[in-house]
Symmetry: C2
Subunit: 102 residues, 2 copies
DNA sequence: TTTAAATATGAATAAACAATCATATATTTG
DNA sequence: CAAATATATGATTGTTTATTCATATTTAAA
């Protein structure tokens, strides 16, 4: 990285790329989307709503948790997931608001 | 997809995931970032600024063009790239504005 | 105290991506 | 037209990521 004044610095770009990558998947986007309306949802609830196979969903959820996008709390048999950083929602809002015809 | 009223529909989620995925890479984000300040830049200019190997950069650029994020126009020896949808910038702005400590 | 329900785990495979390299093509200029 | 410059292409390889499946773990309840 060199020569020109950057709007965003390298570190920020890398972080952004990292989170975008984590979220750039239909199912995972849908999860973030859901959790931006629903505060917290159990694996099962998400599973039902998204019609996603349980273990696959688990993989997604755990991955997103690992990468700092979700948090989870156990309550009896259930595990509830929620957005860790409410800020992730901004991304979603962005996508919504943008009438972009990509 | 079922049962619950969705904030974003499936198709939109898929499109969003698609574009996010395309952009979710440090170099490609940097390219979008650059082009959100610079209107148009030649491959060489981008190459120099980002210190990215020429053919690798070409691959990235062509890929992003293919996916509808960039456009290009040839001018003599040079090929100038620019953002196709100015809207992509919104994403970047989002990332900038979000003081998110992901 | 067995059974069922919810979730997680891990291995295995397949598919997508990133990077590198060598080379091709097109354009300009001497 | 030969050389130089800018860009593109394509094959190859290595790395990540996605999906599936079978099974383990934990908790609750009959």
């Amino acid at each position: 990285m060199a020569a020109v004044a950057y709007k965003i610095n390298k570190e920020k770009l890398e972080k952004a790329a990292f989170i975008l990558k984590t979220v750039a998947h239909p199912t995972r986007l849908a999860i973030v989307d859901l959790l931006s309306i629903q505060e917290r949802l159990s694996v099962n609830e998400i599973c039902t709503i998204l019609e996603c196979e349980q273990s696959l969903l688990s993989h997604h959820l755990i991955n997103m948790k690992l990468k700092g996008i979700l948090r989870s709390e156990k309550d009896g048999l259930n595990v509830f997931y929620s957005l860790k950083e409410r800020d992730v929602t901004k991304l979603i809002e962005c996508i919504e608001n943008c009438n972009c015809n990509f």
